[in-house]
Symmetry: C2
Subunit: 125 residues, 2 copies
């Protein structure tokens, strides 16, 4: 069963997108594995204190992307074969790296300064 204990939604973006990102990053990083079982939509909505439809929306998007498999009456299962995981990992890392580089460049930093700054705050988070 996938754990959502480390999932802390904020108000910076829609909750359903945060759930989507949480699961995708979990799969990409290996914390969530192929054939893992997801909590039911209702159970997760109670756990997170949100509306069941919000969970439903996130799960249906995961289904559209082929990352989970759903059927009536039973909880959904993660569908993440190795090649899919690698592809997802590359996508996420590339997107993160690009946005991060853009951010630091916008701040007028050099690559060396950016790396140093990252190192300075690495242990803090």
């Amino acid at each position: 069963m996938i754990s959502f204990v480390s999932f802390k939604p904020d108000n910076s973006s829609p909750i359903y997108l945060q759930i989507l990102a949480f699961v995708k990053r979990g799969i990409a990083s290996g914390k969530i594995k192929d054939s893992d079982e997801l909590p039911s939509r209702r159970a997760l909505s109670v756990l997170l204190g949100i509306n069941p439809n919000t969970v439903q929306r996130a799960f249906s998007m995961l289904e559209e992307e082929g990352l989970i498999s759903s059927s009536h009456g039973v909880t959904s299962i993660v569908t993440a074969p190795p090649e899919r995981v690698n592809k997802l990992k590359e996508e996420i890392l590339a997107a993160d790296a690009k946005s991060t580089a853009a951010l630091f460049k916008q701040n007028g930093l050099s690559l060396e300064q950016a790396a140093a700054l990252l190192a300075a705050y690495w242990e803090e988070v």
Copy 2:
């Protein structure tokens, strides 16, 4: 006169917040300097193709933070003494570094891997 040619709003957050962030990062990075003149609210709204009230909202928030000075009849002026710039720079860099570190950690990367990834995409953006 502050230039907004590099300002490219997207639909990831409210436009007024993007304007706010654009100006703050500009000040922090030195691209926008103390006593620089801002375009008028109406002129900027025409330039960006948005409603004057959206610009007004961003500018009033900048005024609340003490980063611009406004008076009737004349365009607003940047108020950014050196100590304020340094403070702003620290705030922005710290926030960016923390969120970046958290992001890479969430992806299961080590500091070395994160730095390498950043370097790999640095020139691309």
